[in-house]
Each structure stands twice: as structure tokens, then as C-alpha cells.
Symmetry: C2
Subunit: 213 residues, 2 copies
DNA sequence: AGCGTGTCACGTACGGTGTACGTGCGTCAA
DNA sequence: TTGACGCACGTACACCGTACGTGACACGCT
């Protein structure tokens, strides 16, 4: 009976199952019992490899973050390199949309998020920024990217692609909110890609101006 | 006995108690039972005024957001008005630090967040931007602000004022992460006010450049 | 071969959570 | 007076994270 060798249940297998479950059923559906069931093991077996659920979610964030793929071209203009890095960061959020909230919601003091930081700082300093300003600029970019991702997943917790707000903007009192009322069609839909690119270009240009001074 | 008239337990009292509890004990400590206990009522009484915990947290977000105080000077330069609005938005996050995560974590399709939007759009269009671009710029500012707030509360879940990362950056391999290693003192501490202001000014200037074209 | 010793899967159990449901008490309209 | 309705409340259930104990198995040593 039970021919399955049932490979040894490692930490990485647990993390993978957790990511899978989050992506399939949403972050709220994540429970130790559910993960254990998905792996076909008992609940408490998980605790031989993961100290707690919080640590597991940290590991999930770390795993997702470490999958960022940088195709960094050292010969390219620094503006182009910054653009690519920002887009790469955002891309993983599209590959794991339901996990994005998990990643963003917990501060990660691991070394997983360090490689992107290293690359970004290197690019900025190579462009001619001093260390302190490079850090400031990096923080600004991260804030913008994270904020954008949060809007994208916030608007779509069930990940219906767009249109979300619909009803809400239609019945706004035009006297109280004339601008909102007039612009409701524009506010109503949101091409995330275009929106993100717009802000990104603006940030890059602003950064370039800073460099010229 | 029981002299207390025990005023009638309205929805707003429940929300206020929830905010109070979040601010005192943290967002994790929020439970229906704890809120009920803080109000001196039974747990199920809450459900006569609030359909669910999720709805309660939405109401919390709405309440916090509606407390933004705008001192909008119509005679001021539009850049100054944008600055004031951004700072006002951020200020409530400092008044309710523990609630910030709650506000940011849930998309609000209520009219509470509409007044700031109306003001901002009015300012931008008054400056000369077209409707579509005003929306784009607004979204960019919101992304930056939200991202910044998330970093500020993320670094301080227990709200210890600063210094947080300490150990983590000290023992980074200088060969693997030369930039991070060299800049670790800069990365280690973060003057949130200054950092936010830096990015904000950069965004405003970039926006002004966009307008000039 | 016998025997600690360690690793690890697992069951049980406890205190917590959100909330469905029923019950009883107040205050009004008829 | 009586019915209806609003609302505070207790009980109960399913589910959660996880502390603890137990037993199967693999190993190095004598």
C-alpha cells in the first residue's frame, strides 16, 4: 500500500504550496491546515520546518521577491537601466498578483530584498549620484512602485481586470464634486500599465534633472 | 444599580472604539470581543450596527480618511497647494499610525476618499492640466504617498521611532553587496519627514516641468 | 546485536476567532 | 391591551494557530 514515497517535506515545498494556495484561493484562505492538506501531511508536521505562520509568510514574501529577474545591461543608459529594474520589480507582482499584498504588507529584513537594492544603488551611483542622494532616490522609486502595486491589487482583490468602481462614481453629486463628476469616466477605468509607465517616466525625467544640477 | 445610561451604542461609537483599540494595542489585537469589551457590551450587540468585521474595518478606514484637514489657500501657487494636500494626507497617518496599515490595506469604494480627490483635481486643473493628465498626476502622487506611508509604518510595526534595521545591514558581505555595505549607515536610518519631503519636492518639480510643455 | 540519541510525521487539545441563531426585554402603533 | 419591531445578549459552531506528547525510523557507538 501507499506506494508514494512522499518526498521529504522540506521548507521550500511548504513555501511553494503556500504561494500556490494564495494564488489560487486568495490570501485570506491561507491556513496551516489548508497548506498541510494541500501537501497531504498533518498540520503539525509543518512546524518541523517553519517556526510559525508569520515566519512562513515572511518566507513567501522572500521567495516571491527573489524571483525578480533582472536583465541588466551594463552598457545601457542609466535611465534605461532604472526603467528596466522598476518594470522587473512590478512584473513579479503581476506574476503573483494575490501574493503582492503579502509581500508589501510585511517589512522584510531579510537579505532577499537586498540584491535589487544593490543593483539599483549601483546604477544610480554609476550615473553620478552621491551615496546619500542615491539612497533617497531609490526610496522614492520604491515608494512609487509599491504604492502603484497596492492600487493595482487593491482595485482588484478578486482580480477582475478593471472597471471596478462603476456604480460608485456614477451617482456622485455634481454640485459637491464637480471635478470628480466630470472626470468620472477617466477615474472609472485605469490602464495600469500605461498609468505606471506615465509616473515612471516622470520620475526618471525628474531624476535626470536632479543629476544635471 | 447600574446608574450608567450607557448611551445607545451606535455605529459611530463602535468605529471610534475600534480606532482607539487599534491605536492602543495594534491592528492584530482587534477582535469583535475586544471591541465589545471596551464598550462594555455583549459581542453580538455589535452586529446590530455593523454587518461584519470587514465592514467595520472599512468604516475605520473611512473615518480616519475623512479626518484629513485641508487648509487650502485658493490664492496660493498651485505647487504650494499640492504640497499642502500631500502633507495633510500624510499627517493623518501620523495621527493614527497603527491605523495606517488598515486604511491602506483595503480599497475604499466609499465617498469618504472623494473629497481629497476633488480638491486635488481642482488644484491641478486650475494649474492648467487637462482632465486626463490631472488624473494621471493625481494617481502618481497617491502612489508615492501611500508607498511612503507603508514604508514608515512597515519599518515600525511596534512604532519604535527609528534605528530599526541595525544588525541586518551590519553583517552584509561587502564583496556580494558593495554598495549596500558601503551605504549601510545611510540605509540604516531614515528621517521619514526629510525623506518624504525630498521625493515630494522632486515630484512637484517634475509636474511643473510637465506643465510648462 | 544491543542501545542510546536524534529527526520528524502525526494526533490531541486548548484558547482564541467571526458570526448564525434564538431569546427576552423595551418602546411604540393600533 | 396587543401586536410588532428594535436591539442587547447568551449560546453554539466551525475554524484558527500552535504547545505538547508519542511513536516510527535511522544512525553511531560499544
Amino acid at each position: 500500500m501507499d506506494a508514494m514515497p512522499a518526498e521529504p517535506l522540506s521548507r521550500s515545498r511548504i513555501v511553494a504550496a503556500a504561494i500556490d494556495l494564495i494564488e489560487r484561493e486568495g490570501a485570506d484562505a491561507v491556513s496551516m491546515r489548508a497548506i498541510a492538506a494541500a501537501l497531504g501531511v498533518g498540520v503539525m508536521s509543518l512546524y518541523n520546518h517553519v517556526p510559525s505562520k508569520a515566519a512562513l509568510l515572511d518566507a513567501v514574501a522572500e521567495a516571491v521577491l527573489s524571483q525578480i529577474e533582472f536583465t541588466d545591461d551594463p552598457d545601457a543608459e542609466w535611465t534605461e537601466r532604472v526603467r528596466m529594474q522598476a518594470l522587473a520589480f512590478r512584473q513579479i507582482a503581476h506574476h503573483y498578483p494575490r501574493c503582492t499584498m503579502v509581500v508589501v504588507s510585511r517589512q522584510l529584513r531579510s537579505t532577499a530584498g537586498l540584491l535589487p537594492v544593490e543593483r539599483a544603488l549601483d546604477t544610480l551611483r554609476g550615473a553620478g549620484f552621491g551615496g546619500e542622494e542615491a539612497v533617497r532616490i531609490l526610496r522614492m522609486f520604491i515608494a512609487y512602485i509599491v504604492g502603484s502595486l497596492l492600487r493595482e491589487v487593491g482595485v482588484t482583490p478578486t482580480f477582475a481586470p478593471a472597471h471596478g468602481s462603476d456604480v460608485n462614481l456614477g451617482d456622485v453629486d455634481p454640485l459637491l464634486f464637480p471635478q470628480v463628476s466630470e472626470l468620472s469616466p477617466v477615474l472609472g477605468d485605469c490602464d495600469h500599465d500605461a498609468e505606471f509607465a506615465y509616473g515612471l517616466e516622470l520620475l526618471i525625467q525628474a531624476t535626470a534633472v536632479r543629476l544635471a544640477r
